[in-house]
Symmetry: C2
Subunit: 150 residues, 2 copies
Protein backbone atom coordinates (compact mmCIF):
# COMPACT_ATOMS: atom_id res chain seq x y z
CA UNK A 1 0.00 0.00 0.00
CA UNK A 2 1.25 3.42 -0.96
CA UNK A 3 0.21 5.71 1.87
CA UNK A 4 0.40 8.81 -0.28
CA UNK A 5 -2.57 7.57 -2.28
CA UNK A 6 -4.41 5.97 0.61
CA UNK A 7 -7.86 7.51 0.74
CA UNK A 8 -8.42 7.68 4.52
CA UNK A 9 -5.02 9.32 4.80
CA UNK A 10 -5.76 11.84 2.07
CA UNK A 11 -9.16 12.64 3.51
CA UNK A 12 -8.01 13.02 7.09
CA UNK A 13 -5.03 15.21 6.40
CA UNK A 14 -7.25 17.65 4.50
CA UNK A 15 -9.82 17.47 7.28
CA UNK A 16 -7.17 18.24 9.87
CA UNK A 17 -6.01 21.26 7.92
CA UNK A 18 -9.54 22.58 7.77
CA UNK A 19 -9.81 22.09 11.52
CA UNK A 20 -6.49 23.82 12.14
CA UNK A 21 -7.75 26.76 10.13
CA UNK A 22 -11.15 27.12 11.67
CA UNK A 23 -10.00 26.68 15.25
CA UNK A 24 -8.82 30.30 15.73
CA UNK A 25 -12.11 31.56 14.32
CA UNK A 26 -14.03 29.38 16.73
CA UNK A 27 -11.90 30.32 19.72
CA UNK A 28 -12.59 33.94 18.97
CA UNK A 29 -16.29 33.14 19.24
CA UNK A 30 -15.66 31.24 22.48
CA UNK A 31 -16.39 27.75 21.17
CA UNK A 32 -14.23 24.75 20.34
CA UNK A 33 -14.34 22.29 17.44
CA UNK A 34 -16.63 19.84 19.24
CA UNK A 35 -19.07 22.59 20.13
CA UNK A 36 -19.00 23.73 16.52
CA UNK A 37 -19.93 20.19 15.43
CA UNK A 38 -22.89 20.28 17.76
CA UNK A 39 -23.91 23.76 16.64
CA UNK A 40 -23.92 22.90 12.94
CA UNK A 41 -25.68 19.61 13.54
CA UNK A 42 -28.47 21.35 15.46
CA UNK A 43 -28.54 24.23 13.02
CA UNK A 44 -28.87 21.91 10.08
CA UNK A 45 -31.10 19.21 11.52
CA UNK A 46 -32.95 20.98 14.31
CA UNK A 47 -33.39 20.00 17.97
CA UNK A 48 -32.60 16.38 18.75
CA UNK A 49 -32.35 13.96 21.66
CA UNK A 50 -28.83 13.59 23.05
CA UNK A 51 -28.45 10.10 21.62
CA UNK A 52 -29.44 11.14 18.12
CA UNK A 53 -27.05 14.06 18.36
CA UNK A 54 -24.29 11.67 19.36
CA UNK A 55 -24.94 9.60 16.23
CA UNK A 56 -25.02 12.70 14.08
CA UNK A 57 -21.77 14.11 15.38
CA UNK A 58 -19.95 10.87 16.23
CA UNK A 59 -19.25 12.31 19.67
CA UNK A 60 -19.28 9.77 22.49
CA UNK A 61 -22.51 9.91 24.45
CA UNK A 62 -21.00 10.62 27.86
CA UNK A 63 -18.63 13.18 26.37
CA UNK A 64 -21.51 14.80 24.57
CA UNK A 65 -23.62 14.90 27.72
CA UNK A 66 -20.94 16.94 29.47
CA UNK A 67 -20.21 19.00 26.36
CA UNK A 68 -23.86 19.97 26.23
CA UNK A 69 -23.61 20.96 29.88
CA UNK A 70 -20.78 23.35 29.02
CA UNK A 71 -22.66 24.72 26.02
CA UNK A 72 -25.70 25.19 28.20
CA UNK A 73 -23.52 27.17 30.59
CA UNK A 74 -22.52 29.42 27.68
CA UNK A 75 -26.15 29.87 26.72
CA UNK A 76 -25.71 28.21 23.31
CA UNK A 77 -28.14 25.32 23.73
CA UNK A 78 -30.95 24.30 26.00
CA UNK A 79 -32.22 20.95 27.21
CA UNK A 80 -35.83 20.05 27.60
CA UNK A 81 -37.58 16.81 28.42
CA UNK A 82 -38.86 14.83 25.41
CA UNK A 83 -42.39 13.44 25.05
CA UNK A 84 -40.74 10.25 26.09
CA UNK A 85 -39.41 11.54 29.39
CA UNK A 86 -36.38 9.29 29.18
CA UNK A 87 -35.00 11.44 26.42
CA UNK A 88 -33.60 14.93 26.65
CA UNK A 89 -34.09 17.15 23.62
CA UNK A 90 -31.24 19.52 22.88
CA UNK A 91 -31.89 22.62 20.80
CA UNK A 92 -30.16 25.87 19.90
CA UNK A 93 -30.98 28.97 21.90
CA UNK A 94 -31.39 32.28 20.09
CA UNK A 95 -27.82 33.04 21.08
CA UNK A 96 -26.60 29.67 19.86
CA UNK A 97 -28.25 30.33 16.52
CA UNK A 98 -26.74 33.82 16.39
CA UNK A 99 -23.24 32.55 17.15
CA UNK A 100 -23.59 29.84 14.50
CA UNK A 101 -24.73 32.34 11.91
CA UNK A 102 -21.87 34.63 12.81
CA UNK A 103 -19.31 31.87 12.23
CA UNK A 104 -20.81 30.49 9.03
CA UNK A 105 -19.65 33.24 6.65
CA UNK A 106 -16.09 33.04 7.99
CA UNK A 107 -16.21 29.30 7.52
CA UNK A 108 -17.47 29.85 3.98
CA UNK A 109 -14.53 32.15 3.24
CA UNK A 110 -12.25 29.44 4.49
CA UNK A 111 -13.59 27.08 1.86
CA UNK A 112 -13.35 29.67 -0.89
CA UNK A 113 -9.79 30.38 0.12
CA UNK A 114 -8.81 26.72 0.10
CA UNK A 115 -10.29 26.15 -3.35
CA UNK A 116 -8.80 29.15 -5.13
CA UNK A 117 -7.29 26.98 -7.86
CA UNK A 118 -10.36 24.84 -8.36
CA UNK A 119 -12.69 25.20 -11.31
CA UNK A 120 -16.39 25.06 -10.56
CA UNK A 121 -16.50 21.66 -12.23
CA UNK A 122 -13.70 20.28 -10.06
CA UNK A 123 -15.35 21.58 -6.95
CA UNK A 124 -18.67 20.03 -7.91
CA UNK A 125 -17.01 16.71 -8.69
CA UNK A 126 -15.16 16.66 -5.40
CA UNK A 127 -18.33 17.37 -3.46
CA UNK A 128 -20.25 14.73 -5.33
CA UNK A 129 -17.59 12.08 -4.81
CA UNK A 130 -17.31 12.84 -1.09
CA UNK A 131 -21.06 12.54 -0.73
CA UNK A 132 -21.04 9.28 -2.61
CA UNK A 133 -18.18 7.97 -0.51
CA UNK A 134 -19.97 8.85 2.71
CA UNK A 135 -23.13 7.24 1.44
CA UNK A 136 -21.23 4.04 0.78
CA UNK A 137 -19.95 3.87 4.33
CA UNK A 138 -22.25 2.90 7.15
CA UNK A 139 -21.11 3.59 10.69
CA UNK A 140 -20.78 -0.10 11.30
CA UNK A 141 -19.48 -2.01 8.27
CA UNK A 142 -21.67 -4.98 9.27
CA UNK A 143 -24.79 -2.92 8.40
CA UNK A 144 -23.87 -2.65 4.74
CA UNK A 145 -27.17 -4.15 3.60
CA UNK A 146 -29.77 -2.29 5.61
CA UNK A 147 -28.28 1.10 4.94
CA UNK A 148 -30.93 3.78 4.62
CA UNK A 149 -29.26 7.17 4.71
CA UNK A 150 -26.57 9.24 6.42
Amino acid sequence: MELGSYLPYLVNRVGQRFIARITPVLNEAGVDVQMWRVLIALYQRGARPVGALADLTSINLSTLSRLIGRMEGKGLVERRRGDDARSVIVGLTAEGRAVTERIIPVAADLETDATDDFSEAELATLRQLLIKLYGGMTEDPADKDDRLAG
Copy 2:
Protein backbone atom coordinates in the same frame (compact mmCIF):
# COMPACT_ATOMS: atom_id res chain seq x y z
CA MET B 1 -24.23 28.62 3.14
CA GLU B 2 -25.65 25.17 2.59
CA LEU B 3 -23.91 22.95 5.08
CA GLY B 4 -24.67 19.81 3.11
CA SER B 5 -22.35 20.98 0.35
CA TYR B 6 -19.79 22.63 2.58
CA LEU B 7 -16.43 21.08 1.82
CA PRO B 8 -14.86 20.99 5.31
CA TYR B 9 -18.06 19.36 6.53
CA LEU B 10 -18.07 16.78 3.73
CA VAL B 11 -14.40 16.02 4.22
CA ASN B 12 -14.53 15.70 7.97
CA ARG B 13 -17.57 13.50 8.16
CA VAL B 14 -15.96 11.02 5.77
CA GLY B 15 -12.72 11.24 7.74
CA GLN B 16 -14.57 10.52 10.96
CA ARG B 17 -16.22 7.48 9.45
CA PHE B 18 -12.86 6.14 8.38
CA ILE B 19 -11.57 6.69 11.89
CA ALA B 20 -14.60 4.98 13.43
CA ARG B 21 -13.92 1.99 11.20
CA ILE B 22 -10.23 1.65 11.76
CA THR B 23 -10.37 2.13 15.50
CA PRO B 24 -11.38 -1.47 16.32
CA VAL B 25 -8.60 -2.76 14.09
CA LEU B 26 -6.08 -0.56 15.86
CA ASN B 27 -7.32 -1.46 19.32
CA GLU B 28 -6.86 -5.10 18.45
CA ALA B 29 -3.23 -4.29 17.71
CA GLY B 30 -2.95 -2.37 20.98
CA VAL B 31 -2.61 1.10 19.48
CA ASP B 32 -4.93 4.09 19.24
CA VAL B 33 -5.60 6.53 16.41
CA GLN B 34 -2.93 8.99 17.51
CA MET B 35 -0.33 6.25 17.72
CA TRP B 36 -1.37 5.08 14.28
CA ARG B 37 -0.78 8.62 12.95
CA VAL B 38 2.70 8.55 14.40
CA LEU B 39 3.39 5.06 13.08
CA ILE B 40 2.40 5.89 9.50
CA ALA B 41 4.26 9.20 9.59
CA LEU B 42 7.46 7.46 10.70
CA TYR B 43 6.87 4.56 8.35
CA GLN B 44 6.39 6.86 5.41
CA ARG B 45 8.91 9.57 6.17
CA GLY B 46 11.48 7.85 8.37
CA ALA B 47 12.87 8.86 11.78
CA ARG B 48 12.28 12.48 12.74
CA PRO B 49 12.84 14.91 15.58
CA VAL B 50 9.84 15.28 17.86
CA GLY B 51 9.06 18.76 16.58
CA ALA B 52 9.08 17.70 12.93
CA LEU B 53 6.86 14.77 13.82
CA ALA B 54 4.46 17.16 15.51
CA ASP B 55 4.23 19.21 12.31
CA LEU B 56 3.75 16.10 10.23
CA THR B 57 0.97 14.69 12.37
CA SER B 58 -0.58 17.93 13.64
CA ILE B 59 -0.34 16.51 17.15
CA ASN B 60 0.45 19.06 19.85
CA LEU B 61 4.08 18.95 20.89
CA SER B 62 3.51 18.24 24.57
CA THR B 63 0.85 15.68 23.78
CA LEU B 64 3.18 14.07 21.28
CA SER B 65 6.04 13.99 23.76
CA ARG B 66 3.94 11.96 26.16
CA LEU B 67 2.42 9.87 23.38
CA ILE B 68 5.92 8.91 22.30
CA GLY B 69 6.66 7.95 25.89
CA ARG B 70 3.73 5.55 25.84
CA MET B 71 4.71 4.17 22.45
CA GLU B 72 8.24 3.70 23.74
CA GLY B 73 6.78 1.74 26.64
CA LYS B 74 5.06 -0.52 24.13
CA GLY B 75 8.29 -0.97 22.22
CA LEU B 76 6.92 0.66 19.05
CA VAL B 77 9.38 3.56 18.77
CA GLU B 78 12.70 4.61 20.21
CA ARG B 79 14.23 7.97 21.00
CA ARG B 80 17.81 8.89 20.40
CA ARG B 81 19.72 12.13 20.72
CA GLY B 82 20.14 14.08 17.46
CA ASP B 83 23.42 15.52 16.14
CA ASP B 84 22.14 18.72 17.60
CA ALA B 85 21.74 17.43 21.12
CA ARG B 86 18.75 19.65 21.74
CA SER B 87 16.68 17.47 19.46
CA VAL B 88 15.40 13.97 20.07
CA ILE B 89 15.06 11.74 17.03
CA VAL B 90 12.13 9.35 17.09
CA GLY B 91 12.20 6.24 14.93
CA LEU B 92 10.29 2.99 14.56
CA THR B 93 11.63 -0.09 16.28
CA ALA B 94 11.55 -3.42 14.44
CA GLU B 95 8.39 -4.17 16.38
CA GLY B 96 6.87 -0.80 15.48
CA ARG B 97 7.54 -1.50 11.84
CA ALA B 98 6.09 -4.99 12.14
CA VAL B 99 2.92 -3.71 13.81
CA THR B 100 2.52 -1.03 11.14
CA GLU B 101 2.93 -3.55 8.36
CA ARG B 102 0.44 -5.83 10.01
CA ILE B 103 -2.20 -3.09 10.13
CA ILE B 104 -1.63 -1.74 6.64
CA PRO B 105 -3.40 -4.52 4.70
CA VAL B 106 -6.44 -4.32 6.95
CA ALA B 107 -6.48 -0.58 6.43
CA ALA B 108 -6.24 -1.19 2.68
CA ASP B 109 -9.26 -3.50 2.80
CA LEU B 110 -11.12 -0.76 4.57
CA GLU B 111 -10.57 1.54 1.65
CA THR B 112 -11.55 -1.10 -0.88
CA ASP B 113 -14.68 -1.79 1.07
CA ALA B 114 -15.64 1.88 1.25
CA THR B 115 -15.17 2.38 -2.48
CA ASP B 116 -17.08 -0.63 -3.73
CA ASP B 117 -19.29 1.47 -5.98
CA PHE B 118 -16.48 3.61 -7.35
CA SER B 119 -15.05 3.19 -10.81
CA GLU B 120 -11.29 3.31 -11.12
CA ALA B 121 -11.64 6.70 -12.80
CA GLU B 122 -13.74 8.12 -9.98
CA LEU B 123 -11.29 6.87 -7.39
CA ALA B 124 -8.37 8.39 -9.25
CA THR B 125 -10.19 11.70 -9.61
CA LEU B 126 -11.07 11.80 -5.94
CA ARG B 127 -7.48 11.13 -4.93
CA GLN B 128 -6.16 13.72 -7.30
CA LEU B 129 -8.58 16.39 -6.11
CA LEU B 130 -7.83 15.70 -2.45
CA ILE B 131 -4.13 16.00 -3.11
CA LYS B 132 -4.66 19.22 -4.99
CA LEU B 133 -6.83 20.58 -2.20
CA TYR B 134 -4.24 19.74 0.41
CA GLY B 135 -1.53 21.32 -1.69
CA GLY B 136 -3.54 24.51 -1.87
CA MET B 137 -3.82 24.75 1.90
CA THR B 138 -0.82 25.77 3.97
CA GLU B 139 -0.94 25.12 7.69
CA ASP B 140 -1.11 28.84 8.28
CA PRO B 141 -3.21 30.69 5.69
CA ALA B 142 -0.84 33.68 6.00
CA ASP B 143 1.92 31.61 4.35
CA LYS B 144 0.04 31.27 1.11
CA ASP B 145 2.88 32.72 -0.97
CA ASP B 146 5.90 30.88 0.27
CA ARG B 147 4.32 27.50 0.12
CA LEU B 148 6.74 24.79 -0.89
CA ALA B 149 5.12 21.44 -0.27
CA GLY B 150 3.08 19.45 2.25
